[in-house]
Symmetry: C2
Amino acid sequence: MAKKKKYVYFFGGKKAEGKAEMKELLGGKGANLAEMVNIGLPVPAGFTITTEVCTYYFDNKKKYPKELKADVLSALKKVEEKMGAKFGDAKNPLLVSVRSGARASMPGMMDTILNLGLNDKTVQGLIDKTNNPRFAYDSYRRFVQMYGDVVLDLKPADKHSEDPFEVILERKKNQHGFKLDTELSAEHLKELVDEFKAEIKEKTGKTFPENPMDQLWGAIGAVFGSWMNDRAIVYRKLNNIPADWGTAVNVQSMVFGNMGEDSGTGVAFTRDPATGENIFYGEYLFNAQGEDVVAGIRTPHPISELQKDDPIIYKELSNIRAILEKHYKEMMDIEFTIQQGKLWMLQCRVGKRTGFAAIKMAVDMVKQKLITKEDAISRIEPNQLNQLLRPIFDMDEKRKAVDESRLLAKGLNAGPGAASGKIALNASDAEEMAAKGDKVILVRIETSPEDIKGMNASEGILTARGGMTSHAALVARQMGKVCVAGCGSLKIDYKNKTIAVENSNTVLNEGDYISLDGTTGEVIEGKLETKPSEVIQVLISKTMEPEDSAIYDTYASLMKWADNVRRLNVRTNADQPDQSANAIAFGAEGIGLCRTEHMFFGGDRITSVRKMIVSDSLEERKAALEELLPLQRSDFEGIFEVMNGRPVTIRTLDPPLHEFLPHDDKEIAELAEELHISERKLKEKIESLHEFNPMLGFRGCRLGVAYPEITEMQARAIIEAAINVAEKGIKVKPEIMIPLVSTINEFKLQEDIVRSVAKEVMKEKGKKINYLVGTMIELPRAAVTADEIAQRAEFFSFGTNDLTQTTFGLSRDDAGKFLPVYVEREILPADPFEAIDQNGVGQLVDIGTKKGRSTRPDLKVGICGEHGGEPSSVEFCHRTGLNYVSCSPFRIPIARLAAARAVVREMSSKKPVRKSKPKSKKKKTSRRK
Amino acid sequence: MAKKKKYVYFFGGKKAEGKAEMKELLGGKGANLAEMVNIGLPVPAGFTITTEVCTYYFDNKKKYPKELKADVLSALKKVEEKMGAKFGDAKNPLLVSVRSGARASMPGMMDTILNLGLNDKTVQGLIDKTNNPRFAYDSYRRFVQMYGDVVLDLKPADKHSEDPFEVILERKKNQHGFKLDTELSAEHLKELVDEFKAEIKEKTGKTFPENPMDQLWGAIGAVFGSWMNDRAIVYRKLNNIPADWGTAVNVQSMVFGNMGEDSGTGVAFTRDPATGENIFYGEYLFNAQGEDVVAGIRTPHPISELQKDDPIIYKELSNIRAILEKHYKEMMDIEFTIQQGKLWMLQCRVGKRTGFAAIKMAVDMVKQKLITKEDAISRIEPNQLNQLLRPIFDMDEKRKAVDESRLLAKGLNAGPGAASGKIALNASDAEEMAAKGDKVILVRIETSPEDIKGMNASEGILTARGGMTSHAALVARQMGKVCVAGCGSLKIDYKNKTIAVENSNTVLNEGDYISLDGTTGEVIEGKLETKPSEVIQVLISKTMEPEDSAIYDTYASLMKWADNVRRLNVRTNADQPDQSANAIAFGAEGIGLCRTEHMFFGGDRITSVRKMIVSDSLEERKAALEELLPLQRSDFEGIFEVMNGRPVTIRTLDPPLHEFLPHDDKEIAELAEELHISERKLKEKIESLHEFNPMLGFRGCRLGVAYPEITEMQARAIIEAAINVAEKGIKVKPEIMIPLVSTINEFKLQEDIVRSVAKEVMKEKGKKINYLVGTMIELPRAAVTADEIAQRAEFFSFGTNDLTQTTFGLSRDDAGKFLPVYVEREILPADPFEAIDQNGVGQLVDIGTKKGRSTRPDLKVGICGEHGGEPSSVEFCHRTGLNYVSCSPFRIPIARLAAARAVVREMSSKKPVRKSKPKSKKKKTSRRK
C-alpha cells in the first residue's frame, strides 16, 4: 500500500507544514500563507485542505477520504492552541474563515465564508471580547446570510429576483424608517439573525446548524463544490485551467480590524504597481475591515501616513515588506489587519502591475542584485515594452472623455499608441490638411497602396474593414502610426463625407476631431492631448538626452541584457532611409524586407509606373522603366548609406499591377490624359488586369517572369546604388529577394536575370561588390520543395503572412467575416495573422527550413511576415533554428526581448531540476491539445 | 584496361551483330535493321557506327576513337562480300547511304546522304549495270548536291536567299527552255555535276572528294555533326531527349526501285493504322524511288493490288508481314524496295496509329494470343479511350471547313467531343432556344453556377476566360458536354450580342451557327454534323445493342481486363440521378463527390436559397431552409436509388453565398420584389458578401460553422432520404463530407451537428442506418495536421483542385494570364490543374495520407478533384496508396484503365530483368529533374 496521503497542512506560529513551492497541492493562497509563517511573519493560524481532496471529492460522488475528519480535528486543535481560543467555546470562541484557493488565481469565482463558528452562544463570547454587541451581531447576521446563500443554497429565484436576505434587511430598515444599514442597532441585527434563520428554514427546509463543527463541514463542502459552479467552469475554460487541478480549502482564524482605534486593515504593494518605483505603496483604514477598504465607502489613507499614525506598526510592516521582497525577489501584494495593536498578515501574492512598472521593477531588482538579468528578461512580457515606446493619452483626460460618452466604437488595436486629429476621408485630403499644419486622422473603409502618402501625413489611421495584418495595419505599424482597424460599427460615407456610428445618433463630419487609442482599439470623439514617450524622445525625436531620462536608462539596460542573451538576429521591414534610421535606433541589425513597390508611390514616380503598366510593347515598357531606374537607385543609395554595412534584403516587385492603377472614372480620365491614351483603352487595360482572387493571381515573381525587364531594372538600380555607396567607403550588403516562388524554375529565371545584370553593371563600373540572391518562402509548395529551391537560393525568408493565407486558405482581407468568431469560440487558439499558427503554418516553416538546409547546410533563414514582431512567434522562430526575424521598426525592441526570453526559457527547460524532457523535434511542431 | 569497345556493328546476309534490344547503342533504325536480318528478312547489307562514337566525338573535339577506321574498313569489306560489289570500283561499284539513327525517332531533324561512292569513274559502272545513263547522272548530280550542302556546307547565304544548286539547275533549264527537271538529258545532268563541283570550290574553297573513302568519312562526320544542329537541339528540348544519348550512323548498300518495271518501292503497315483492322495496309509504285511515294507526284497503288501486279513479291511481303507481327508482337511500319525483281527491306519500326486503332489492335492481339492482357493495358494511353466515347465530326467535313478558312480560334480542349449549334450568349437564352428545338452552343466570357441550367440545355460551351478546371470546364466534363475554354482571342460583347475574333474581320451574331471540337480546342464557324460514338450508343443512349457493335465489344473487353487488374476504386462526381446512372454505365463504383450546391439551382429552389441568404434572423433562415429540405431530400432519394448500395459521398454546402445572388441591377430589382424586401437592403446584403478573394473567403465549412442550421438541414435531408430509400429494401451507404476544413475543431463542430441530427432522425423514423462522416483535405493545413483530423474524420477525400490553388498560391480563374506561358516555357512540366503536381501538391497528399493513417490505419482515402480522371494523376494516387479516385462520368473508363496501367507498371518495375530499383517512398514524391 502507498504511504498514507497527507490531506491537511497546518500553518501558524513559527512553522508551517507547507511552503511556497507547494502551490499545486495547497493552492496559491495556502502555499503563500505557509511560506509567510515559515519566514517568521505573523499569520493567524489555520490549515489548508489539499487540492487532492477536491479531486477525490469529485471522483467519489462528493465523499471525502476517510482520514480527513481526524486530520481536520487535529489541525483545528493546533490552531486553537496557537490562537489561545476554542472553536465553539461560549467564552473565548475561535472564529474562522473558510476560503477557496486554487493553483491559479480565479478572483471571485468561488465561495468564501467568514466568521464561521458563531452561534447563539458563541456570539456572547465575541461580545465579551470586543465589548461591542453591535459588531458581534452584525458579524453573526453576515455569517448567517453568507452561510444561507453559499452552503444552504438560499438564492434569488432567478436573475431578476432580489436576494431574499436583502429583502428582509430592507423590510427591517423600512419598519424603522432607516436609510442606512449602519442605523440598525445591535437589537435589530439580533432580530435579523433569527429572521434569516427562519427564512432559510421556510424556503429550503434546511435548519441553520448551530454546531460549529457542522458549520465547518458544511462550509468545506460548499467551497469544494464551488469549484464546479458555472462561473468557475466558464472562467477555467476562458483561461485554459484544467478542471482536474482542483481547489484547496483554507480554514484560518478570523482577526478583526474593526475592534477599535487600535485596530485597522490595509492592502499594500512592496513597490508602486503603476510606476514601478521602489516605494512602499498602499492604503489603510483604522477600525475597519477589509471590505471597507475595497468598497470605497470610507476613503483610506496612503500607507506613508501610517508612519505618523502608528510608527511601530509602520516599522513592522516596512520590515515585513523588506523580508518579503528579499524572500520572494518580487513585488508582492499584501493584505494585513491590525487587531487591537497586533499586526497580522492575511495574504501575500505576486502583485499585478503595468507594463511600465514591470520593466522598471525588473531592471531595478537586477541593479539591487535581487534577481539575475535572465530573471528580468523572463519577467517582462515583450509587448509590455509598448508602454515605453508609444505616445500616450493623459489617462485623466481620456477617462473624462469616456465619462462624457464620447467613446464611439472599438476596433482592432492594430497600431498601438495614441493619436488625435481632424478627420480626413481620403489620402489626398489628409495630405492637404497636414500641409496646412493640421493633425489628421485618416479614416477609410480600407486602405490601399495609393493611400501611403496620406497615411504618412496622418497621425493615425482608422479603418472600418480589415484585420490585424490588413494593409492599413501593416503599413501603420511599419510607419509607427497609430491604427485602429476593422472598426465595423462605423459607417463611412465617402460621398457625404460623414462617419455614422451604428446604434447611435452620432454622425461625424470631415474635419471634426477624433482620437484613437491604438493600444486598446478605442475610438473617441473629440480631441485628446498626446505626448511621445521618453524613450522615443531620446531615440527618435532626439528632443531629450539619454542621461536625462531614467525611463530610457531602464529601457537601455534591459535591451542590453536581452542582446547579450539572444541568438536570433533582429532586422526590420523598412523601405525609406528615415524608417531605416529609426529602425537602427531601435536596434535593427539589418533590413529583412524592403518592399520596392512602396517606393513606386513616392513623388511623381507613380506616373512612370502606370506608363509601364499600360505599355503595349516591350520598348514602351522599357522606356517607362528607364524613368524609374534613377529614382529607385537613389532610394537604395539612401537606405544603403543609413544601414552602413548592415545587410539589406530587397524584394523585387510583388503586388498585382492593378494595385497601381486608379479605379474611379474621374481618376481614370485624368490618368488617360496624362498618359496620352484614350480613356477606353485605359479602362480596357484596367479591366484586363481585374482578378477574381488577386491574392492568388498575377503577382510576385510571376510579374518578373512575364516582364523580365522589370526585374532587370530593379537589379540594376540595386547594384548601381550599392557600387555608388561602396565608392564612398561605406560597406554595402545587398540581398536580392525573389517573391512568391513556387518552383525552382521560377527562381532560376529571376536569379539568372539578376546575376547577368549585376555582372554587366560591375563591368560597366569597374567595381565588384558582394551580393546574395535568395527567395521568400511564402507558398506551401515552396516549403515542401525547399530542398530544390535551396540548390540556387542563397537565403530564405519566410513570408508568413502569405504562407498563413495559403496554408489556411484564408484571405486576411476577408477573414473579418468569421475569424473573430473562430478565435472567440476557440476553434483557433489565436488569430493566425497575429501569432504564428505553430501547429500548421509552423510545420511548413519547419519543413522548409530543414529541407533547405538539407541542401545547403549554412542556408540563412529568416522571417519577414508581421509575425516577426510577435513574441510567441519570435520564440517559435528561435526554436525552429531561424537566423533572424524581421519586423516593423517599432516592434524591434519587442522582438529583441522575445528572442532573449526564448533563450532563457530554453536554458530553464534544460535545468536538471525540472523534469520536463528536452524539447524534441516532434515537440517543436506538436499540437496544442 | 577495359575490354576493347565494339564501335561498328555489321548487318547483312543472315546474321547481324546487333539486335532490336540494342536501341540505345545502335539507334532505332540500326537496331531494327539488325533485327530484320536476324529473323531472316532480306536487308541490303551495311553497318552501324554506335551512339558511343557520337558521344566520344563531341567529348573529344570531333575526333573519333583510334580503332574506328579499321573497324569501318573491315565492316565495309563484309558489305562488299555480301552485296557482290566493290566500293569505288569503276565496273561494279558499291553505293551506300549514310543515315543518322537515334534512340528516339527525330524525323527529319538530322542529315542523310544517298548514292555515296559515285565519282567520275564509278558513275560509268552504274551506267553499265543499269543501262540508264540519265538515271546514273541524275543520281550523281543529286549526290554532289546533297554532299555539297550537308558535308561541304554550301548553303543559301541566308533564309531569304535561294539554294545555290537550285540556281544553277534553273539556269540550265532556262538555257534550254525547259520547264521540268525531267526534260534534262543525261548530258545536261553530267554538265550539272561539273558545274556543282565548280560552285562548291568557288564558294567554299573546298574540293569535292572523288575518293569514295574520303566521301564516306566526310559523310559520317557530317551526320554525327548534325546531332548538334539547331533544329535537332530544339527538337530534343521540346521532346525531353537528353543530348548525351547521341545518334548512331547507318551505312547501308543502296538499292534502287527505279531500275525498270521489275523494280519498285513502297511503304506499308501490318494493320490499318487508322481503324486498327487486321489487314495489310500500304502503297507501292513500280519503277520509282522512295521519294516518289512520299512526294505524291505519282499516285501510288494500294498494296492489295500488288497481289495482282506481282503475286510472288506480294506473297513474300505478306509472309514478311506475318513474321514481323509474330516477332515484334506489334503493328509495324515498313519500307521496302524491289530492285530488278528482288525484294529488299529498308526499314521497320512500330507504327503510329490513332487512339481508336491502338485500342482495337491491342484487344485483337490479345485475342490472337500475340500479347497478354497486361501488354494491351500498358499499350493504350488512357486518353485514347476518348476516341471511343466522344461524339465526333465527320473528318472530311471538318477538313473542308478548315480549307474554307472557317477555323476561327483555338482555346483549351476542356471538354472533348464535337458539338455544333446556334450561338446563345446567356444561359436563359440558351434554355429558350433549346426549348424551341435548336441545338445551342452557349458562349460566355466565363460561366458561374447560375448558368448551370443553360449549360445543360446546350450542346457545348465556349468561354473566353478560364482554364482547364474553370467552372465551365468542370461542369461541362461532369455533364459530358463539349467545352472549349479560355479562348482569349474571342471578344464577346453581351450588349450587342456579338462575338468578334481578334486579328480578323469576322463577327458572329447570336443565333449564328458555330462548331466546337472539344478534343482539339478548335472553334469553327458554321454548322458541322456530329454523331455519338457506338460505345455511347450502347451504354448511354441505348440506341444500339451491345452485340451489334464490334467497337463496343473491343471497349468492353479492354475494360474488363483493366478491372481485373486494378486495385484502385473508381467513383464519380455526380449530383443528379441521371448523371449517376450514366456514371454506373461507365463503371462507377460509387459517388465520390456529390456537390449539394448544384442542387440549389434546380427549379425554383434558388428562391428559397436566396431567401435564406438574405435572412436577418435565425428564424427567417430556418424557415427558408425548411422549404429546401424536401427538395434536397428527394434529390438524395433519387441518387441513392440509382446508386443502389454503392457508397455516396455528399459534400455539405461549399461555395461562398454571393455566388447564389444576382449581381446586375435588373435582376436585383426582380429578386427584391420576389423576396418582399427593399432593393437597397438587398444591395447592401450583396455588398456585405463581397469578397476580395472569394477562394479564400467565407465558404466551405466556415458557412456551416457560422450557420449551423444549414448543416442541420442538409444532414436531415441526407439521413431522411437514406432511411426512406432503405425502407424500399434498397441498400444505402451515405458518406457525409465536410469541406474546407483547416483544423480538427471545425470538423468536430460540424460532425457533432451531423451526428446529433442523424440520431434525432433515426429516433423519429425508428430505423437505423449506417453512415460515415469524413472530410475533404483541400488545404495545406489540413494535410499537415491530418493526424489530428483523423481522430474524428472517418474518411478523407483530397480536393486537389483547391489544394493545388492553395499550395501554389494560384487561382485557377486568374491563372490564364500566366500559366500557359509557364507550361510553354517549361517552368512547370504541365498545367497543375490538369495533371497533379506530384512534386509539390503530391507531397501534401502523401503527408496527409500517411499522417491520417498514422492515427486511423484503416482510413479510407480518396481524391475528388478533377485530377481523379487524369491518367498520370490516377497512377500517382495508386502509388500513394489511395483507396479510390472520383471523376466526372465520362472520364471513368479513362480512370479505370489508368488504374490498371499503374498496377502493370508496378509489376514490370518489379521484374528482376529490369535493373531499376523498386520504387522507394522517397521516389514516389521525388522531383522531376
